[in-house]
Amino acid sequence: MSFMKRLKMIFSAKANKALDRAEDPRETLDYSYERQLEMLQKVRRGVADVATSRKRLELQQAQLQGQSDKLENQSRQALAAGREDLAREALTRRSGVQQQQQDLAAQHAALQAEEEKLTLASQRLQAKVDAFRTRKETIKATYTAAEAQTKIGEAFSGISEEMGDVGLAIQRAEDKTQSMQARAGAIDELLASGALDDPTGTAKDDITVELERMSSQSDVELELARLKGEIGGGKAPDAIEASPAAGAPAEATPAEPAKTEGDRP
């Protein structure tokens, strides 16, 4: 097992270098313990950072889902109004949103795994630091400085390896969450700029505007028909006058697709 052992030797040499200090070996124990507590803090912050990133992703996932549902509704409305072109546009955008959703789902799974791993590592480090403290107190109470040397060596090598590894794991997690934060920021910008539309529905996208225009147009026609009925036929029922009027938006339809497509590059 020469290779695995070589890796171990190199790793330990570096880990020990980071810990070696102090004249009296018993002082080194205290110094090392301080470092361990610092590392524990660092690990806990790392876990919290990963959790924050995960929650942000979850928020974005919900926003994208809302966007996807909205586009699906729009495509239904457009089709019901006989506007296949508009429905196609809505579905095309929806497939773009779904692509983003898939990316986020993969990132979310990776973050969750990272969070679980770090949580376990943090618990383990806590247990080892506690064990180290107990052993440290025993050594200080029981042995002279000279005697303590070997005992301390044993206690150190176990903990320094753990510290080195956990330190590395935290560093990697930080790198990962940083690159994810950058991507999450890009999605936030997309959502805010309206390219993916505003999930709160406060800003109107062009499909909504078009659907509303069509709907208000047909409302106007209905209202016109009703008024005509009142004036012309006294109490003539809506239904009779409404049928020619309902034809009006249909007449306008052929011109619409050309106009909409022309608007879009």
Partner: protein, 95 residues
């Protein structure tokens, strides 16, 4: 023998009777790293990790024991492992 798997996974105690099996896998991994063979490295590392996890018993959290051997985590790249072997300066241990 005690093996640590990097990436915060912790240590496992593997019975010495499995030495021969692990030795074979270990040599495979070493060859792949030295040859810069990415695919070979991936599969050798995956095999070795799988065997260690299957054969080994995780150590109790409060055990303070030095490992005899060390393995990179699943997602370690060939480059990272090579850097670990050659880079004697700091960088491995933060802070």
């Amino acid at each position: 023998m005690i093996v640590r798997i990097l990436g915060g996974e912790g240590q496992l105690r593997v019975d010495d009777t499995h030495g021969e099996l692990l030795n074979g896998l270990d040599s495979g991994l070493e060859r792949a790293v030295e040859a810069g063979d990415e695919a070979g490295f991936r599969s050798a590392l995956a095999d070795l990790l799988a065997q260690v996890r299957t054969l080994g018993e995780p150590l109790a959290d409060d055990e303070l024991v030095e490992s005899d051997a060390l393995l990179p985590s699943d997602d370690a790249t060939l480059e990272e492992v090579r850097a670990m072997l050659t880079d004697t300066a700091e960088g491995l241990i933060p802070g």
